[in-house]
């Protein structure tokens, strides 16, 4: 069935024009982060939903950048917001809500990495580290991404975070330093170490080696 749509009178407000504002809850809260934090602290009923709708995409993305495709993702996303709702009163400057959320997310991801390391040390083979997509159904791109995370898995936690935030998420160096709670100089040192470790380890993986060589030759060809 095809239908004709009639706007019966001039629009009072335009429907959502920003991408991602697809749901009513998000569209319903248009205040600043400061106002949102104030509402949360006052216990306003819609404030948790507004915060979740505004930032859950960002938090999810950041978790995926650090951990890759991960069956624990829903639990970690939950963990981040549970932490945020419990400790929102500790946020000193409400204007820095996003930065604070970033730190909570990064620390949650770091906790997950460390938990898994401990399990590995205990020789407990955790099912959540099993790849969730059969190799045969993966595209080349997906296979490459999986291999990158296999390499990251073998790197130190701090280096892995540095690489994920800077190279994969594309955060600026000061943002990365703030997110990981270290000075800029320390972060730069970690990143250098991470880059070197990644390139060394990636060179041992045929798929990644080939991909890096291809990127290198494309870049070389252009310059």
């Amino acid at each position: 069935m095809s239908a004709t749509v009639h706007r019966l009178r001039p629009k009072g407000r335009k429907p959502s024009e920003k991408p991602g504002e697809g749901n009513v809850a998000e569209a319903g809260y248009l205040g600043s982060d400061e106002a949102l934090v104030a509402d949360l602290l006052q216990g306003s009923a819609g404030a948790p939903a507004a915060l979740y709708d505004r930032y859950s995409g960002y938090v999810e993305r950041l978790l995926v950048r650090v951990l890759g495709s991960d069956p624990e993702l829903p639990d970690l996303l939950h963990e981040v917001f549970a932490e945020v709702f419990t400790h929102i009163h500790k946020l000193k400057d409400p204007a820095k809500l996003k930065g604070w959320l970033t730190r909570v997310t990064v620390f949650t991801a770091r906790g997950a990495i460390r938990r898994r390391r401990r399990r590995r040390w205990l020789r407990y083979y955790s099912p959540e580290v099993m790849p969730d997509v059969a190799a045969s159904t993966q595209t080349d791109q997906q296979a490459m991404v999986s291999r990158v995370y296999v390499v990251l898995e073998t790197m130190g936690t701090q280096e892995r975070l540095a690489f994920s935030l800077r190279r994969i998420e594309g955060m600026t160096l000061p943002e990365c330093a703030e997110a990981t709670g270290v000075s800029l100089a320390t972060f730069k040192r970690r990143l250098k170490k991470a880059d070197e470790a990644f390139q060394r380890l990636a060179a041992k993986d045929p798929l990644l080696r080939e991909r890096l060589e291809r990127v290198r030759s494309t870049k070389g060809g252009k310059s």
Partner: protein, 428 residues
């Protein structure tokens, strides 16, 4: 060192793009939302209870009682009745308006001659089916409010707002008129349209296509309407008559929702009285609901992929194309192209263009699709991502002047966009 930086940044960008594709569905966020918010709600309730615990244990018991009551499904009553109304009961206002009061404070008023029913209630809302006439809604806004109104093939999703829905079964004309707040509409040719306070929207099928029957096959004579694509994933489909696949019982319309299964001459009471909530019946829908997209496609193959898809609406086809894309099934491209042919000018057709761009084997093909999307949906849900991908592709194709010009536009429009760094570099 700069070479190494470039190399790793390029690899990172590829990873980012691949991950963003997987994140687009938003299914994890939706899945976690309810958990997070109900926990937050309980935390608030607990905090309140703790304060109340100090003065007197009796008050605590009262608070706990009210908390428990709050977690129970809503109840509703017809004004003037001493008992609560039944689920699925036909509510027919005759010469006077009929008022319904819900236990969450929401109110519904049926204008004279209007008919409606409430087949489902949750602890935070209800589903109201408008069978005909004008119905006014005044929904109490609460955390996680979950109210929906169905009229014919259209579903209005509500958080907290005041609005009217008018449904004329005979002409199949739907009207939503929003006084306060904002609602989201789903249904044929609407695809998530939002209607804000001060707006009214009327939808009317084009007469020449209305009632257009689908070809039927021997093994599956009924329409696919019981699995209507407009019922959100994870939401229960509402089976009106308990026999959704009964041959000859539906209008077999392309975009038919459950409500259209009722024979046009039958009184709504017959149907609604027996209503019940159930999970999707089609095996491919069940599998897809569990994110087993490979299995869903295999189930469609088993039934006859092409013949089954021919009987689907463009919305359903779009959904199946999404399964194919997520399962890395090569048929995804063909399916998205079919969506574009079936519903030219629709949001789904435009979204299909965007996704075709992402699946294209060559940059120039991808660019062509993304320019189509930009043209068709300049403020659509993928607009920002689409603009970013155009930037990347123009840059990769060496079309620097165009890329620089578009980068300026991108930064003006999406100063916090995901591709801002690339745009800044290109704009320099």
């Amino acid at each position: 060192m700069t070479d190494s930086n470039d190399l790793l940044d390029t690899l990172g960008l590829e990873i980012r793009q691949s991950q963003d594709e997987a994140l687009e569905t938003g299914s994890v966020r939706a899945q976690v939302r309810q958990r997070v918010l109900s926990q937050s709600h309980r935390q608030r309730q607990d905090r309140r209870s703790r304060w109340l615990l100090v003065p007197a244990a009796a008050v605590v018991l009262l608070a706990a009682g009210s908390w428990l009551l709050h977690e129970e499904p809503l109840e509703y009553a017809i004004a003037g009745d001493t008992e609560n109304a039944r689920l699925g009961q036909l509510l027919a206002a005759e010469q006077h308006p009929m008022h319904l009061s819900f236990s969450d404070g929401s109110g519904v008023r049926l204008a004279p001659e209007a008919q409606a029913s409430v087949p489902v209630v949750w602890e935070n809302g209800a589903l109201v089916q408008v069978h005909g006439g004008s119905v006014h809604f005044d929904i109490e806004h609460r955390q996680d409010t979950r109210w929906a109104v169905q009229a014919g093939p259209y579903t209005v999703h509500v958080v907290g707002t005041t609005f009217d829905v008018d449904w004329d079964e005979q002409s199949r004309t739907f009207l939503v008129d929003v006084s306060e707040g904002r609602v989201r509409l789903e249904g044929p040719d609407t695809d998530g349209v939002e209607v804000a306070a001060g707006d009214a929207l009327r939808l009317q099928p084009q007469p020449e296509r209305f009632g257009e029957a689908l070809p039927e096959t021997e093994d599956e004579p009924a329409a696919l309407a019981s699995d209507g694509a407009d019922v959100p994933q994870g939401e229960p489909a509402i089976e009106v008559d308990g026999q959704p696949e009964q041959p000859g019982h539906g209008t077999a319309e392309v975009d038919g929702l459950v409500g259209e299964q009722r024979p046009s001459g039958a009184a709504p009471a017959e149907a609604v009285g027996a209503s019940e909530v159930r999970r999707p019946t089609r095996p491919w829908r069940r599998l897809a609901a569990n994110r087993d997209f490979v299995g869903a496609l295999a189930a469609l193959d088993h039934r006859g992929f092409d013949s089954t898809l021919r009987r689907m609406s463009a919305a359903e086809l779009y959904e199946v194309a999404g399964w194919a894309r997520q399962a890395s099934d090569p048929r995804a491209t063909r399916l998205y192209e079919q969506v574009r042919r079936r519903s030219p000018g629709s949001t789904q057709a435009a979204n299909a263009a965007f996704l075709l761009g992402r699946m294209s084997g060559s940059r120039s093909d991808a660019l062509r699709w993304w320019l189509v999307y930009e043209d068709e949906q300049p403020t659509g849900r993928f607009a920002e991502q689409n603009a970013g991908r155009i930037l990347e592709t123009l840059s990769a194709l060496g079309r620097r002047a165009e890329a620089a010009e578009r980068a300026e536009q991108y930064l003006g429009r999406y100063p916090e966009g995901a591709h801002r760094r690339l745009a800044e570099a290109l704009a320099r």
